[in-house]
Amino acid sequence: MPGSFFELENRVGAPVVAGETRIIPISRALILKFPGLRGGIIWNRPVSIVAQTADGQEQVLPVRDVTRQVQLALYGGALLGTLLMWLASRQLDKRRKR
């Protein structure tokens, strides 16, 4: 693991041949090292694939993590909803006091 505490790197894998198409997988790894300690965390996930056809066409297909996207949307929605409710309840309180 090179010097820095935090690293984010894209890695390209060996092409896989499927008929006349070459599929090149790409992943992204986040590498965290604990300062002063031995060890760390590696989070590696697929990012996209490049599909190259025999006639020279190239297509980049993203690999989406739908489960993660839905989870984040739910948590974000809950936070936003709570914030809006809090703001609305403050407005109501102010009106009642007047």
């Binding site: 693991m1 790197e9 890695r11 390209v12 894998g13 060996a14 896989v16 499927a18 008929g19 198409t21 599929i23 997988p25 790409i26 992943s27 790894a29 590498i31 604990f34 300690l37 031995r38 060890g39 760390g40 965390i41 590696i42 989070w43 590696n44 996930r45 697929p46 694939i49 599909a51 297509q59 297909l61 993203p62 690999v63 989406r64 993590d65 739908v66 489960t67 993660r68 839905v70 989870q71 739910l74 948590y75 929605g77 809950a78 909803g81 709570t82 409710m85 809090w86 309840s89 403050r90």
Partner: protein
């Protein structure tokens, strides 16, 4: 896809320091290999005209430490000073892996089929709903200070 980090009971019982260093080195090498592309893309599976490549997210955490100490006793009548030392170490780690998508290459073309985990989504929905209901009840509580 990345479950090679688990130590066998034989490798957990290490009798000499050189073995320990070797075991740590091996574990670290396996740990660093987790960042490679082949850890998230599985072996292609051929099924008739269709080629399937599974892909997963991999999260690995690893930590270890070691220490040693030496001590000396009181000087004996013979003039020699008895002494001794010892050391030890330990470590731990965890590998989490979750399928993300499947790449399907067929004569019709290449497509990425996402893998949706309804259990994780349901748990997230329950957590989000619980958080919102809790906060709402707190806001509606009489005598609150906000």
């Amino acid at each position: 896809m990345a479950d090679e980090l688990s130590l066998t009971p034989e490798s957990a019982a290490i009798e000499n320091p050189a073995q320990a260093v070797e075991a740590v080195q091996e574990t670290l090498e396996l740990f660093l290999e987790t960042a490679n592309v082949d850890r998230v893309y599985g072996e292609p599976i051929q099924h008739g005209d269709t080629l399937i490549i599974p892909s997963a997210e991999v999260l690995v955490g690893l930590g270890f430490g070691m220490g040693y100490g030496f001590g000396q006793g009181e000087k004996e009548e013979s003039g020699s000073t008895p002494g001794g030392g010892g050391g030890g170490g330990g470590g731990g780690g965890r590998v989490l892996s979750r399928p993300v998508a499947v790449i399907v290459a067929s004569p019709e073309g290449v497509r990425v089929q996402e893998v949706v985990d309804p259990t994780k989504i349901a748990l997230a929905a329950l957590t989000a709903a619980g958080f919102m209901i809790g906060m709402m009840m707190r806001m509606m509580r009489p005598g609150r200070d906000t």
